[in-house]
């Protein structure tokens, strides 16, 4: 425990001074502020232009425009948070263990009375904590920027941020595990391909399960096997809620509009207990792979 805490503490100090993470954080913070402020300025301009619109054209409802921009903001924010969580996962995963092993720092560390398990636990714990803190701060900033708009989706956004951190954690563990076996750039490329392929597999599996891609038993079987070989992206009900809100916003009273339930069904639904349990299992598997890689490593 003593060794784990020491490794975790000084890994956090080391990570906090790495410029690449600082750059990702600053870009993320500025990006989120820019999305919010930009959309607010855009909405103010659009509303004032709409009110003085050409004669004969019915003026759009300013409340509707504001609500639409609010939804757009949240959609962009979810995307931005996911993107920066991934970048930070790469940034931490590529450096936290790899640099110690490659620079020779591990030679001095492993000659001390610390087990490889304690070292791995400290590194993984510190890397996860660093990611939660960085993405957490970005999420708080997003919530504050959200106050510029009417809001109403803060709760959804908070749960989505947790899901994004959980997904990024898996990616970070994959990068950590791979970077103890191979060059860290190659590890990043392999992890990116695996993660992207995993995303496609899960999306296609969901479409097949919903019957959107025919009824082939072979296809179903293949994708069921593949589905249980890759991490499942966790998601909140945010994507569905956003689609539902957008469809309802533009529904004209008294006229048949698009089918809300059909539109919502095409969007991935919130993760259930099985997904969360699978996520926990995958975390354990990849954390164990990091440990095996560190244990086998000769320095």
């Amino acid at each position: 425990m003593r060794g784990t805490l020491a490794v975790a503490r000084y890994t956090l100090v080391d990570l906090s001074r790495r410029r690449i993470l600082l750059v990702f954080f600053i870009i993320g913070a500025l990006g989120i502020a820019a999305i919010g402020i930009g959309l607010k300025v855009f909405s103010s301009t659009l509303v004032s232009v709409s009110f003085s619109g050409s004669p004969g054209t019915p003026a759009p409802d300013p409340a509707k425009i504001n609500r639409f921009l609010d939804l757009m903001f949240v959609t962009d924010l979810v995307g931005a948070l996911g993107l920066f969580a991934l970048l930070i996962a790469f940034g931490i995963g590529l450096t936290a263990i790899y640099h110690d092993l490659e620079s020779g720092a591990a030679v001095a560390i492993f000659s001390k009375p610390v087990s490889r398990f304690a070292f791995t636990a400290g590194k993984v714990g510190a890397a996860a904590a660093a990611m939660v803190v960085i993405v957490g701060i970005l999420s708080v900033e997003a919530a504050l920027v959200g106050l510029l708009f009417g809001g109403g989706l803060e709760q959804t956004l908070a749960i989505e941020a947790v899901a994004q951190v959980a997904n990024a954690l898996i990616l970070m563990l994959i990068v950590l595990a791979l970077s103890t076996w191979m060059n860290n750039i190659v590890a990043a490329i392999v992890a990116f391909i695996y993660n992207t392929a995993g995303g496609f597999v899960v999306a296609l599996h969901n479409q097949i399960a919903a019957g959107n891609l025919g009824d082939s038993a072979i296809l179903k079987g293949i994708f069921t096997v593949l589905y249980w070989l890759v991490p499942h992206q966790l998601t909140s009900d945010a994507p569905r809620e956003l689609v539902r809100a957008e469809v309802e916003l533009f529904a004209v009273p008294g006229q048949p509009g698009p089918d809300v339930s059909q539109a919502v069904a095409s969007v991935p639904g919130p993760s259930d207990l099985n997904d969360i349990l699978w996520w926990a299992f995958v975390v354990i598997v990849f954390a164990s792979l990091v440990y095996v890689a560190v244990r086998r490593r000769q320095v």
Partner: protein, 257 residues
């Protein structure tokens, strides 16, 4: 007296098709003894000490470190290891590196407050505020020795400890080894600097291509009227295939001059 470390028929190779990097090395080291491990580049010296420190897995033979396996944390708590070309987490400062390693060694707060400033002063790094990534090779080497002695080890392994040090630094390391020997600490010294080894070591082993060519006390290895450098040169050359003209022709060619 029980040896602090004993090595029996130690073997190591890095790939199956490679020749043995270490082949049948045997020696033992007792408290208060300074043991010099000598050999040309690639002779297997660093592989031997890394196996003793539990950093490399041997492919054969036995190592006993304080009566335990090298991987045993309790045994490693009594070991100080200053690696060749040491490095540390790049964004930490010297004081933080020592505090990190003191935590790994399980030193309490009072002991850390006492030992860290004194160790930094010994290493000449007490005024240093920069991060390790901005250190010179010599500064890293000083920090490497500092972290090795921080736990007050009973066995100190120094792998080429003075390669990047200035003459004053070398003198400090010699004084350190002498002082540790007197207090009963065993020292295992890997060095190319034969004069240095001759000054501080009681026993030596000369390695080439993973084999021990000669081992014994300094008096046994170096006969009266000879130097360690003479003996080392003869043994190593005898174990290597005869070399002809080592200098490139463009250096020796008269026409180019």
């Amino acid at each position: 007296m029980a040896p602090v470390v004993s090595v029996e028929a130690l073997r190591k190779r890095y790939r199956r098709r490679d020749p043995w990097a270490v082949d049948g090395v045997t020696f033992a080291l007792e408290p208060g003894q300074a043991f010099g491990l000598l050999g040309p580049n690639g002779s297997g010296k660093t592989s031997v000490v890394k196996m003793i420190a539990g950093l490399l897995r041997p492919d054969g033979g036995e190592i006993s470190l304080f009566g335990a396996k090298p991987g045993d944390p309790a045994a490693r708590a009594q070991l100080g290891f200053a690696p060749e070309e040491p490095d540390f987490p790049k964004f930490l400062r010297a004081r933080e590196v020592l505090d990190y390693f003191a935590s790994l060694l399980g030193l309490d707060e009072d002991e850390r407050k006492r030992r860290i400033p004194e160790t930094l002063a010994f290493a000449g790094l007490d005024q240093e505020r920069r991060q390790v990534r901005q250190f010179s090779k010599g500064m890293k080497q000083r920090l490497g020795i500092a972290q090795a002695i921080l736990g007050r080890p009973k066995l100190l392994i120094l792998d080429e400890p003075t390669a990047d040090l200035d003459p004053l630094g070398r003198r400090d390391v010699r004084a350190l080894i002498e002082s540790l020997k007197v207090s009963g600490v065993a020292v295992l010294l890997n060095s190319h600097l034969l004069s240095e080894v001759e000054l501080v070591c009681d026993t030596v082993a000369i390695l080439a291509k993973g084999h021990v060519l000669k081992e014994g006390t300094m008096a046994e290895v170096v006969p009266e009227g000879r130097t360690l450098e003479d003996v080392f040169g003869e043994l190593v050359q005898a174990s290597a295939p005869p070399k002809h003209d080592n200098l490139p022709s463009f250096i020796t060619d008269q026409e180019n001059q």
